[in-house]
């Protein structure tokens, strides 16, 4: 081995040792210049290869390039080490107060609880194959009463009970007129629900002159009262919990025959009528049941008003139901006073910001 090669090897080991011992990026740069800079000894050796005797040229060149490559690799590695350490140190000193509030998103808005409940009910029926129908609020007596088989002296027709614009034009008192409008437009089968505002001439602690209903109508061949029960059982479980039961009580409505009222088993006391501490359940008043809606099989007289649209009462039959949205909202969310629904106090609305999944 030539002297020159030995020299190179000693430079390389000195360089490696120097690189290993630097503590900062600045020192590392000094070491780089010292060992690999233009004026470095190794550079001089490589530049002078041409002057060497031919048999040394090969070994010296090879050793020189190897040494340079190794030192460059060591430098790069060391540089990365030092940079990482510097960054780590910087990040360790970077401390924010994580308890400060986050920058607000634009949010903070909420849907009205009536909308929330209405959507929840709509979604249940959409899942059962229903579409959503709508209709006018300023309505004809024909659709609101006559075609729904209300007798000429039915008390709801009174001007004391219903808002009128003139003798034949009123504010609808229920969403039921849309039953007729839908059947006029479309032959059976029909599966629709009808959400909307309705109006009655009543204003006290338990009545507001405007409120919200959801109507349901299912007409096809062979739809039975048992289907009504099953449908409303599914609905009650979806809205009030999967352990609910429903109870059908006979009732009277002009536009259904037979007519029933539907009770759902109380979800506060699980239908027992009393709470765990033995006290009477105030939600169901100790009965274990809560009335939620009126329903029944569509009266043949109602079909006779839309016979020309394909509703032959000997061939098709179906059920209808109607419920108050405020009542369901009261039952589900405990909003105790009807008036709160229409005050639109932001403090109430803010309580309904959460998604309520």
């Amino acid at each position: 081995m030539s002297e020159t090669v030995e020299k190179i090897q000693s430079i390389e080991s000195a360089g490696a040792s120097a690189i290993g011992s630097v503590a900062s990026l600045a020192e590392l740069e000094d070491v780089r210049i010292h060992f690999l800079g233009r004026k470095a000894e190794l550079n001089d050796i490589l530049k002078s290869i041409a002057t060497l005797p031919p048999e040394e040229k090969g070994p010296v060149g090879k050793a020189g390039n190897q040494a340079r490559g190794k030192l460059e690799a060591l430098l790069a590695a060391r540089q990365e080490e030092l940079e990482t350490a510097a960054l780590t140190q910087l990040l360790e000193q970077d401390r924010i107060d994580i308890t400060l509030p986050g920058s607000p998103v634009a949010g903070g808005g909420a849907l009205h609880p009536i909308t929330r409940v209405r959507r929840e009910i709509e979604d249940v029926f959409i899942g059962m194959g229903y579409k959503v129908a709508e209709g006018p609020e300023v309505e004809k007596v024909h659709y609101n009463f006559d075609a729904l088989n209300h007798s000429p002296n039915h008390p709801a027709r009174e001007w004391t009970d219903t808002f009128y614009f003139e003798d034949d034009v009123l504010l609808r008192t229920h969403t039921s007129p849309v039953q007729i409008r839908v059947m006029e437009e479309q032959p059976p089968p029909v599966f629709v629900i009808v959400p909307g505002k309705v109006y009655r001439r009543d204003s006290d602690a338990t009545h507001t002159p405007m409120f919200h209903q959801i109507e349901g109508l299912a007409v096809d061949e062979g739809i039975t009262l048992s289907d009504l029960r099953g449908t409303l059982l599914e609905f009650s479980r979806a809205i009030f919990g999967e352990d609910r039961e429903v109870r059908l009580r006979p009732h009277f409505f002009p536009f259904t025959e037979p007519s029933v009222e539907i009770d759902v088993s109380c979800f506060k006391c699980s239908g027992k009528g009393h709470l765990k501490d033995g006290s009477r359940c105030n939600l169901c008043k100790g009965t274990g049941w809560i009335e939620i809606l009126g329903a029944g099989m569509v009266d043949p007289n109602v079909f006779s008003y839309v016979r020309d649209s394909g509703y032959d009462p000997e061939k098709v039959q179906g059920f209808a139901f109607g419920m108050g949205v405020e009542r369901i909202a009261f039952l589900k969310h405990g909003i105790p006073d009807l008036r709160l629904f229409y005050e639109n106090d932001l403090r109430l609305l803010a309580q309904f910001e959460a998604g309520g999944y």
Partner: protein, 803 residues
């Protein structure tokens, strides 16, 4: 309808406890509002007593000291204030420890030095009548021979009883009678139903001149004549029944009419026959503005559609609604003509409504009582008239009737029962239920023919009605729960419904809370939206509003949201961001026009303040415009902003407002609220917008189709354009876009500057231009060319490129 349980049990004893009976009634269609109580809550301590001796109280003139056998080892001493108490009487005694109907607890007490061990009771104390003149002498009213002293009083006279308070649906006027309810109990339980007791044959064939002029409105008018009537108090049992049913006893004749009505549901009227002038009755239409003074001492003015019952000299009563004073039964009455009639329900209803006069009778007649019922009820009432007033029945039923239709048989198909209910009820069971309900039933092959009783013939006319009867008695709650088998039913929302939901969510996510305000408003509230004037437009006005505040249908939502802001600022809110989606009403009553509006109101900061943005500033036109732009982006419906047209929006500041345009037509407004309108609502200012969502929905674009986008990088360039101040930015952008060539992708204003550098009356708009080509990176030369063309175009509208 109050049904005393004891009375009900007399006709059909369910054998059930009152709570179970109430439950069974409720589950078969007779709603029980509550289980009430008449008289004492508990009957313990109420016993039969025999007065052994009576002596005058040593220290009180009006008191007696009685020794009373109450079944104990020794007689007890009771001090009594009644003048009629005497030895030998059988009396009702309440003992110490018992609680009176009015809640008073009876204690041993010293009265003027003599200890009294209870009380001897009067009718008033037992809530039987108002009579408090003396104590009840039981032996005068009941056969007390076999009743031992100390026996529970309830064996003779109930000191307290349960009363079912029923809510009778309008289709069941027959259940406005105790016997009708008893028939329901009969059908539910199968226990026997006692028939109503009918009266004796008449002793004589007197008659009376009765004319009915309109049998459509008075299908039947019947009368019976009773002579030698002795008007006086009713017997105790009758008074007790009436008071338990909530009816005040008056005298035996009136009490009989009330009692029979409560039993059978049929109202009736007793005339003092001697006061009927001219010995005739005519039932006719009232003359226009004819006057009559009714029993309640009020003069009423009638119209030609109302019926009156007249004697020879004029009206004595309003048919089916209320009698008149002229022929009222009094204590001197000796001859009674008992009227039992059938009236046209809707006509009675109309009369009662027009006169604002509701009576027990009108409430029953308006539901449509059977025209056959009066014949039966005459028989029932006659028995009591003869037995309780000592009268002689001297006529058969004088019956003036039109053509009365008889109930017709209705077919009930077994298959149809299952087809409608979804559960099988054997035809034999259907027959049994209908027979219990007094239908005449005969089999006809697989099916049956059922004829409803006359008193149900309005309510039951079709097969579906028969099925309802069968279903409710069988128990609708026993039916299975199934789901319709309708494979074609697919649930979905319409695009308009999806849009509404999508926008509601968008607005809530952007900090707007949803309000629901009244559909009603008032002219006064609407005029608050028009400073110094009236809000233009025609309105739908309610003819019978609850109050003037709620007398007009809102033609726009704005007023409601301003009130929401007012309400919330008054309660300490620091900003109000709210929206409403609801109907607004325009057009005329003969042609009303409704549409769904989306309204927005921003008052205060556009978003919540924070430590990074302590003062977000007041929301303004542009804050809400951003929301409208978000609505446009979300819906895909391009919404343009054009200067406000006309003076339809007096509530906006004209220079800070816009008409919203979509699908080529105006769909709403956006603008800052007029300061005077804000002031009227006690708020400092607001920005509002309202969109006709129906029109926006009609402009919804077709579903998005994919367009390929270039992979070559765009080149961007910023220009500054100086234009006169009155040139809208939109016009500048339109000029740029029309002249920028096919590679100009978009042009956006990112800064607006006014000041000395740009000169008086001018503004500088900084615009970022983005160019791109689908197939290559554009060269500087190409963008340079576009820019030249833009410069030229801008000069045409008085603009110049700056810098």
């Amino acid at each position: 309808m109050r049904v005393p349980l004891n009375w009900l049990n007399e006709y059909c004893d369910s054998g059930l406890g009152v709570h179970e009976l109430a439950e069974r009634l409720a589950m078969t269609g007779t709603e029980v509002e509550r289980i009430g109580r008449h008289g004492a809550a508990e009957t313990d301590g109420f016993v039969v007593g025999k007065v052994l001796t009576r002596e005058k109280h040593p220290d009180a003139d009006k008191l007696s000291v009685c020794s009373v056998d109450v079944g104990a080892d020794e007689p007890v001493t009771i001090v009594c204030g009644a003048p009629n108490v005497d030895a030998g009487q059988t009396v009702a005694v309440v003992q110490p420890g018992a609680v009176m109907p009015d809640g008073t607890k009876i204690k041993k007490a010293k009265l003027r030095g003599v200890e009294s061990n209870g009380m001897i009771l009067s009718e008033r104390e037992l809530e039987i009548s108002e009579d408090h003149d003396g104590i009840i002498q039981l032996e005068q009213h009941f056969d007390v021979g076999g009743v031992a002293a100390g026996a529970p009083l309830a064996e003779v006279l109930a000191p307290g009883q349960d009363v079912l308070e029923l809510e009778i649906t309008p289709n069941r006027p027959d259940c406005l009678g105790v016997h009708g309810v008893a028939r329901e109990v009969h059908a539910i339980t199968g226990n026997p139903l006692a028939e109503l007791e009918l009266g004796p044959a008449p002793e004589g064939d007197e008659t009376f001149d009765i004319t009915v002029e309109d049998h459509t409105l008075c299908p039947r008018f019947t009368a019976r004549i009773f002579r030698d009537v002795k008007v006086g108090p009713s017997p105790l049992w009758l008074k007790e029944r009436l008071s338990a049913a909530g009816q005040r006893p008056i005298n035996n004749v009136v009490d009989i009419t009330n009692y029979v009505m409560l039993l059978t549901s049929q109202p009736m009227h007793a005339f003092d026959m001697d006061k009927i002038r001219g010995n005739k009755l005519v039932i006719r239409h009232a003359a226009h503005e004819e006057k009559i003074t009714t029993l309640d001492d009020v003069e009423r003015t009638l119209d030609g559609q109302m019926l009156v019952v007249c004697d020879a000299e004029g009206p004595t009563g309003i048919a089916g609604v209320m009698g008149g004073q002229i022929s009222e039964v009094s204590s001197e009455t000796t001859n009674v003509l008992l009227e039992i009639a059938a009236w046209n329900g809707p006509n009675i209803h109309r009369t009662s409504q027009k006169l604002a006069l509701r009576s027990e009778a009108s409430g029953r007649f308006e539901k449509g009582l059977s025209p056959i019922l009066p014949l039966e009820v005459q028989e029932i009432a006659s028995k009591l008239m003869v037995e309780l007033t000592g009268a002689t029945l001297v006529s058969s039923t004088i019956d003036v009737a039109g053509e009365i239709s008889q109930p017709q048989p209705i077919e009930l198909r077994e298959a149809r029962v299952e087809g409608l209910l979804g559960t099988r009820i054997p035809i034999a069971r259907c027959a049994e239920i209908l027979e219990h309900l007094d239908f005449k039933v005969e089999m006809s092959g697989e099916n049956l023919l059922a004829t409803p009783p006359h008193y149900r013939s309005n309510d039951v006319t079709r097969e579906a009605d028969l099925i309802e009867e069968v279903a409710r008695i069988q128990g609708v709650d026993t039916f299975p729960a199934t789901l319709p088998e309708s494979p074609t039913a697919i649930g979905s929302f319409s695009p308009a419904q999806k849009l509404k939901r999508g926008l509601e969510d968008l607005l809530a996510a952007n900090g707007y809370s949803e309000s629901i305000t009244w559909s009603f408003t008032s002219e006064a509230a609407l005029n608050k939206l028009a400073p110094g004037g009236e809000l233009p437009g025609v309105r739908l006005r309610i003819a019978n509003p609850l109050s003037e505040d709620q007398s007009v249908m809102r033609p726009l939502v704005l007023g409601g949201l301003l009130e929401v802001a007012q309400h919330n600022f008054a309660r300490g809110a620091d900003a109000v961001r709210t929206f409403e989606v609801g109907t607004v009403y325009n057009g005329t009553i003969s042609d009303p026009v409704e549409h769904t509006a989306l309204a927005l109101l921003l008052s205060g900061a556009p978003h919540a303040a924070s430590w990074r943005d302590a003062a977000p500033g007041e929301g303004d036109f542009f804050a809400l415009k951003g929301i409208i732009e978000a609505i446009s982006a979300n819906s895909g419906v391009e919404i343009g902003f054009e200067p406000l047209d006309g003076d339809d929006h007096p509530y906006l500041i004209p220079g800070r407002s816009a008409t919203l345009v979509a699908g080529g037509q105006s769909v709403g407004y956006l603008g800052e609220i007029h300061p005077l309108v804000a002031k009227e609502h006690d708020i400092s200012g607001a920005t509002a917008a309202e969109l006709n969502l129906d029109l926006v929905a009609a402009a919804l674009p077709a579903p998005t189709t994919f367009e390929s986008f270039t992979s070559f990088p765009p080149s961007r360039e910023d220009i500054a354009v100086v234009v006169p101040q009155n040139v809208p930015a939109a016009e500048v952008i339109a000029a740029v876009e029309s002249s920028g060539g096919k590679y100009l992708q978009n042009a956006n204003v990112f800064d607006v500057f006014e000041g000395e550098q740009v000169g008086e009356g001018k503004k500088s708009l900084a615009i970022r231009l983005t160019y791109a080509a689908p197939d290559r990176t554009l060269t500087d030369k190409e963008t340079e060319k576009a820019r030249k063309s833009i410069t030229q175009k801008l000069e045409e509208i008085g603009g110049a490129l700056r810098g």
